[in-house]
């Protein structure tokens, strides 16, 4: 993915894949998934706002928390195609950690369910279409907590 291509940016803004995902979901392949985890939450991944995402996750409005932090997550991404993110939750009884990118066509990037015994700390890499706030949404003991960090996506390369 070449995030600096302006034509692509336009495409991203339209969020054209929604209908496709919906169609695929309707085709019923979700049920055939052999993974034990809950079926893929199409509504949450299609959501365009934090409110809609939380609603689709059957959650409540999150409160800002200093116990949710970004570690080893840079302020600037040299390339938006790969942005390293580490989220650490110090909220007791953390059950899940989600990563959302505000200005992506669909906000939700990933949700991790944290069973007892697993550290509430996740490192992964996400795509960012442009400079944006990144949110870490934590579910702990049934409640939702959120933290945010702005990550700048820079233009690079010599050929445009």
């Amino acid at each position: 993915m070449d995030v600096i291509d302006p034509t692509r940016r336009k495409v991203l803004a339209h969020g054209a894949s929604l209908s496709l995902l919906t169609l695929v979901a309707a085709a019923g392949w979700l049920e055939t998934s052999p993974v034990r985890a809950a079926a893929w939450n199409a509504a949450a991944f299609d959501a365009h706002s934090m409110d809609d995402t939380v609603k689709a996750l059957h959650g409540s409005t999150p409160v800002a928390s200093k116990d949710v932090t970004f570690v080893a997550t840079p302020d600037i991404a040299e390339n938006g195609a790969v942005v390293p993110v580490t989220v650490v939750s110090a909220v007791p009884k953390t059950e899940s950690i989600a990563i959302l990118v505000e200005k992506n066509p669909n906000m939700l990037a990933a949700v991790f369910d944290i069973p007892a015994g697993t550290d509430p700390s996740i490192t992964t890499r996400v795509k960012m279409a442009q400079t944006s706030n990144v949110y870490a949404l934590v579910k702990a003991d049934g409640k939702y907590y959120v933290a945010s960090k702005e990550i700048k996506v820079t233009l690079g390369g010599c050929g445009g």
Binding site: M1, V11, I122
Partner: protein
């Protein structure tokens, strides 16, 4: 057949650290090819990690996880010699399972 994952599982004190690289396009469904046709979304949707048969992490992913995904986390209760088994399933229903021994 998708390519194998590259899994590392190391015992660090009482915690087991898992690092995994997966080979996947993670196509967003928002890009167009040279002819202007939308390239359909193709991405890993679920990831499931067990150690010695016990689930230590599950995840649901969207198209915004980077191509050739990387994931790292730690859990307690693992021991050297345990098998860490990771399975991913993508939106085409393709899946891949690989394992590594905790070292």
């Amino acid at each position: 057949m998708p390519d194998p994952m590259k899994i590392r599982a190391n015992q660090l004190g009482d915690a087991t650290e898992v690092k995994v690289l997966m080979s996947h396009e993670m196509e967003t469904g928002q890009r167009k090819d040279a002819q202007g046709k939308v390239i359909p979304a193709w991405f890993i949707q679920s990831v499931d990690v067990t150690c010695a048969g016990k689930t230590v992490l599950t995840a649901q992913w969207g198209t915004a996880v980077s191509k050739n995904p990387f994931l790292s986390f730690r859990f307690k209760g693992g021991n050297k010699g345990d098998k860490v088994v990771i399975t991913w399933v993508d939106n085409r229903g393709e899946k891949r399972t690989d394992e590594a021994t905790v070292a």
